[in-house]
């Protein structure tokens, strides 16, 4: 990762300086940024500092990279959690309804919703929501990071795609399970429909849904770039993309260390949940 960043074409000092800065200024600034050392020396310095808890100084912000990143954590976490909640709640319910009422207009409506959710670009949805709820109706603020009301539109925008995906996955997994013999047996034994659907079928349909949900958490944390820019939301996704474009290596490195850790943790957690939901999954 360290090397990948440094082989990128482009020059950090040139990105920081204005268009018309002489080459001498570029060289001088790169020296200050520690970028004129040989690569292995830079790497040694980086590793040593990271173990001391020092992630370097952001080139762009001229502040500790760790602080620059952690300042965005609150905004990122809020948005990701809200979107996650929407995805889980709406996606799974829609999927269940569509599966149980297969072939009815509920199913059709849910399919249409899912198609829109999967294919509407985030910027289109975001701007349309702003124009409708912010400008025309004035029910919600158009952008910014302040109260829970500012959170609603970006969370809905961000959740659209994963919700659609989860709804369809739930539907298809549920259909598969509902068709199985043991469910028929359960019904025949006189179990209440609710219990059949929620306790038996849903539980068995949960594994693929959970997998995708787990992966979406990661996407929601770091991949909300477009939603963040449309709503001027000060999150980590936009931060890291800008940092990549500006060749702000310390910030990119810090975000990557953070997000890799979060990914590993979440996916371990998902693996653990598999065994809880389905005791047959063991790791030998």
């Amino acid at each position: 990762m360290f090397v990948v960043l440094r082989v990128l074409p482009g020059d950090p000092a040139k990105m920081l300086l204005p268009e018309g800065a002489p080459q001498s200024a570029v060289d001088e600034l790169n020296r200050h940024l520690g970028l004129r050392e040989p690569l292995h020396v830079q790497y040694a310095i980086f590793i040593r500092s990271v173990f001391r808890g020092d992630f370097g100084q952001s080139f762009q912000y001229r502040a500790p990279a760790l602080r620059v990143v952690t300042e965005r954590l609150a905004a990122t976490a809020q948005l990701a959690l809200a979107a996650m909640f929407l995805t889980g709640a709406v996606g799974v319910s829609l999927g269940i309804v569509a599966a149980v009422r297969r072939g009815t207009r509920y199913d059709v409506a849910s399919t249409l919703f899912a198609v829109l959710g999967q294919s509407l670009p985030n910027f289109w949805l975001g701007i349309m929501l702003i124009l409708l709820f912010g400008v025309a109706l004035r029910w919600l603020p158009t952008s910014g990071f302040e109260s829970w009301r500012h959170l609603i539109l970006p969370a809905v925008t961000l959740a659209a795609f994963p919700t659609a995906l989860v709804a369809r996955l739930t539907r298809s997994s549920m259909l598969e399970i509902l068709g199985r013999d043991y469910i028929r047996t359960g019904r025949a034994k006189g179990l209440a429909e609710r219990a059949v659907v929620l306790r038996h079928a849903l539980r068995n349909a949960a594994v693929p849904v959970l997998t995708v949900l787990g992966l979406q958490v990661g996407t929601l944390l770091g991949g909300a770039v477009i939603t963040e820019s449309v709503f001027a939301w000060p999150g980590m996704g936009k931060l890291v993309v800008d940092a990549i474009f500006f060749r702000d290596f310390p910030v990119v490195q810090t975000v990557l260390i953070f997000s890799a850790t979060i990914f590993v943790l979440i996916n371990l957690l998902v693996d653990l949940l598999y065994t809880v939901i389905d005791p047959r999954i063991r790791y030998s």
């Binding site: 990128l8 074409p9 482009g10 020059d11 040139k14 990105m15 920081l16 300086l17 204005p18 268009e19 018309g20 800065a21 002489p22 080459q23 001498s24 200024a25 001088e28 600034l29 200050h32 762009q60 912000y61 001229r62 502040a63 620059v68 300042e71 965005r72 905004a75 701007i127 702003i130 124009l131 912010g134 400008v135 004035r138 603020p141 158009t142 952008s143 910014g144 990071f145 820019s229 449309v230 709503f231 001027a232 000060p234 936009k238 931060l239 474009f245 500006f246 060749r247």
Partner: protein
Amino acid sequence: MRRRSAASHSVGRRRFLTLSAAGLVAAGLPRAARAQGKRSGELVAGLSERMLTLDPANHYSISSTSVHRHMFDPLVDVTNDSKFVPALAESWRAVNNTTWRFTLRKGVTFHDGTPFNADSALFTLRRVKDNTKLIKSFVYQDIESVEKDGDYSVVVTSNRPFGSLPAHLTMLGMLPPHAAKNEEAFFQKPIGTGPFRFTSWTHGDHIVLAANPTYWKPGVPRVEKVTFRFIPELSTRAAGLRAGEIHVVDRVTPDLVETLKSSRGVKVFDVPAVEAQRWIFQLAKEPVKDQRLRQAISLAIDRNVIIKDLLLGYGRPVDSPVPPGLIGHTSLPAKPYDPERARQILKQAGYTNVSIDFVLMKDLYPKQLEITQAVAAMLGEVGIKVNIKNLEIATAREHRSAGTYDMFFSGWAHMPHDPDWYFGQWFTRAGSEKLTRYNNPRVEQLIAEGRVPDPKVRQAKYEELERILWDEEPEIWPYYSVAIYGVSDRVRNFEPRRDYYVLLSDVAIV
């Protein structure tokens, strides 16, 4: 040699009225409004670019300069018609070609009560010169010494003529000397002499400033509080304005003007900017190093269509490499559109199947991709094939450094309202080494001679060198940009700046 007084401000403004109809609306309001002089209300501005630092010496961002101007005063201010007027310096003059003397304003204090005097100016100027980590440092490297002469006078000497120093100083906010103790802590919660005091900054989102009740300029500021929100996405910025959450937005594009004009409570201001778009050629590369080919390209481009149809009139025909209002501007004959002549030239020079790479820095200039596609079609008409390469900025700049381009979509906003930087960067051998590879000793000499403080000498030198450039066409200047602002109709006394600044000290809200 050059002395400015506060009086030139209003004179300048009146002259400026002739430049722009929108300026009329903006400037017509102030006198009546100023008479009331009561401070009330709160302004919210939406800026296009995120502020990265509160250190005025450590960036060249236009949005950040706007924000910083409210907290920090520079020594020199610049009016909308590019006249330099007193801020913290009451007057200044060139003692000789390499010495400037600034007389400072008395009775000004920083927000914490520290008096402003020569020590502050000394500290600020020496810091930007000596601390080469600072982004603005390279501009001040010609300075040899900064000395004080009494408590309210500062003498700056340079190792070669530095006529553009006052212009550069318009972008450098003055700091109290005690900032040196712990710069990092200081710039977390900075202190200036400006009309507003720093309140809080939510990184990546907004900054809040509160009126400085003891500001040295009477009647300023006019509101209690100003919030700058950073909203890079134009649609979102405009939506905030239309929803009444934001009172001023910058960087509106021509296509959005009608939408804003038809929104209730929103007005649109526009003014010709101090910015020329430029399509630069790689002058060491075949085939565009050939002046005949460049001339053919220039003749094949219908600038009128670009301005009228694509920019909807929000662009101005170019009559000089330097926009009107700046020193050195002179009116040269317009570049004609003559595809027939272009074809002839190509034929005479033996060019068939010419194919050129036109590199763009992604999303940097409004409507650049659209305009480039139009140009590609126009050049296609005369038989020149254009490969558009819309690249990520850092990669595009690498292409420019490496010289692997034929044309490059660029622009130049004359932020210090002085063309010396532009000429020195793009038309000297050292400056253009990693850019266009321009090399003309005569032009280089004229640029050096134009660095003196005397405006008459500068005007003469610049006129001569512009005529050379006009013939050589080392770049194409397709249009001067127009700065467009969206403003709430509750806002009074807003002035649309030609340098894209959003300055709200003199602005009121009802």
